[in-house]
Symmetry: C2
Amino acid sequence: MKLLKGNLVYAPRLGELETVPHGALLLDDGGAVRDILAAAPEGCDAEVLDYGDALIMPSFADMHLHAPQYPMLGMGMDLPLIEWLNTYTFATEARFADTDYARRVYRRLAQDLVTGGTTRVCMFSSLHTDATLILMEELERAGVTGCVGKVNMDRNSGDVLRETTEQSKRETLRWLDECARFRHVSPILTPRFTPSCTDELMAWLGRLADERGLRVQSHLSENGGEIAWVRELHPDCAQYWETYDKYGLWRDHAVMAHCVHSDAREREALLRANVAVAHCAGSNINICSGVAPIRTMLREGVWVTLGSDIAGGAILAMNRVVTMSIRASKILYMQTQGEDQFLTVEEAYYLGSTAGHRWFGADGGFPKGLPLHAIVVDDGVFAEPVRALTLRERFERSVYLMDKGAIRAVWSEGRRVVG
Amino acid sequence: MKLLKGNLVYAPRLGELETVPHGALLLDDGGAVRDILAAAPEGCDAEVLDYGDALIMPSFADMHLHAPQYPMLGMGMDLPLIEWLNTYTFATEARFADTDYARRVYRRLAQDLVTGGTTRVCMFSSLHTDATLILMEELERAGVTGCVGKVNMDRNSGDVLRETTEQSKRETLRWLDECARFRHVSPILTPRFTPSCTDELMAWLGRLADERGLRVQSHLSENGGEIAWVRELHPDCAQYWETYDKYGLWRDHAVMAHCVHSDAREREALLRANVAVAHCAGSNINICSGVAPIRTMLREGVWVTLGSDIAGGAILAMNRVVTMSIRASKILYMQTQGEDQFLTVEEAYYLGSTAGHRWFGADGGFPKGLPLHAIVVDDGVFAEPVRALTLRERFERSVYLMDKGAIRAVWSEGRRVVG
């Protein structure tokens, strides 16, 4: 057994923050949380890891990002969406046919994720099977867990990045076979988005999801041009989400990135099917897609998580994705004259942490019986405060200011992977 | 003489970017730029500093921040403005009566500024004369140059932080006398904002500015409640800016922070008087003040610079203040259906760098005959790109991604102060 001592801070439910000053987490030999203790017990025979006055908080879950876009982080941000896709995105992803290059970039990405406190991901790879497997290897090696998808895209993807319908099916099956060897990373079916996939491929993926009980991720209602395009491609579908539903891809635990322009009817469909929204505030502003109505979704009970959306987003660090979500919500707060209350720090942190972990079956912050996912934040590296701060204040400050220098240790799936 | 070799990148004018691949800066013995060279000369007897493939760019100028709010960075962000001021701001500033505490915090702040690439500031201190002098000492020691103001506030400032009109005058004169000893930091008159200063104090400061040829900084039109309050206090003034003008404080090179709600008439007054706006995008969103109409101001010819506005802003690093300004401009771009074009990276970097340096008399990027203010950015620390990037792409990526780890050296006032 292990005993982790420190100040425990976690957001078990939306808007709630639990703080246990000088508490402890008791882990079993597999790294699962056995107990949350108000004080470290005397004479306990567990191995003690004393983090002193540091904060122990649930780690982050990044529920939408494109691994092969990591090399283009912070580039092309002034371009309109279609030019950005053609000039940067497709050309960048195409480079991942080179497995040596993929190895180098994905090793770096996996390291940057975990040292930044992200221990769970729901991630797009490219269409390349081998590079996708390398990505999964590198995530496992670094201690990042979660789901990764080989991307399916058999139409409308330009010259440099294309697969035929047959190739897409065959490679998907080959990839799924190879995935059996991973312990902490699983496959997720990933039709890029409706315009990138023929009806035949969509239908095939829907059947595959059913047969194998696989989860699905894609994009939904990111911007106006895209929505109009989908309507043209599927005149029989009243709304974007129905193009997924038509082929059995609108499923429980599907993850749909963006949902910036999802109206009441589409949000109702999200809620009914238990589809999770991956809200990507920074990306949506960078690409001028808009600001997703997160407060409305939360009020309606829609499942909202956060994504960095690398590289439409330019920020990998999830604490900064959390604070960007707060800022985006303040834009809507101002636009609605205060009717849509902005996200509090507790709420936004919940979305970037607990709400994502829940997708992996781990709810409530430090769920008992499940392997620990946590970061240890040393807020003593920030400027000296004017007085002793409450744990709630230290939590807020840490969410705004933490960087790799302040993240002293990271625990993923019950293992210490950083520090 | 010194020869700095590297890739030169600078924004001489709004919207323009000059790039000199493998160029060099020739500095004289005082650290002033003597020449910008397309290639390093052979057999030159200058001391060579070879930065290899790194980027040499003008440093940042932070034109609005509150030094004594640094300890509360990233706290109280969910509070309404007045509660935020009373719970955090005034209580935090009051702590700077303690000169030992001031020394510790200001030493840290000065270090964090310069290692982040900010070499010029236009800064608020607190009302405390001694702490203000300590702040100026610590800035000089670290290599940060610019203007610092002891704050004047003789009304409406709560119980913990107050000075009488007499104290305010006497301490201002004592402070100004002491400032003679600084070489790289100068005093600037700093009435906190109209509601904090009696008419008598405002009038006295206006006369002092005239008599001694001093510059002035303050706040203007940050939010609706504040503007209404100013109107109540000065019913004879049609607009906020006139409350400064009435007392001789609306002067050439005055710096006015925010100007979120400045309408056409107020912007016209800014332009006519050559007053510089310090745009603080992150702070204005954090505190739900709004988004300043920067594109409109630029179109009209108003002088716009950028400020971190610590601690209404939660980000000290000016490259991130630059990218936040871009995001804020994209919000207005979307709200105006594209009529207000968003800020390009070149434009926003110009505002955060050249436009601020200009306020100190240094225009154009690397102005000849003036001491060098520059950062050296090693973009080799970012993820390996898919292909050789253009200097313009490397510039954009550096603006989005740089942090202390990527800033290899900093030059301030012709001296190497970091690296």
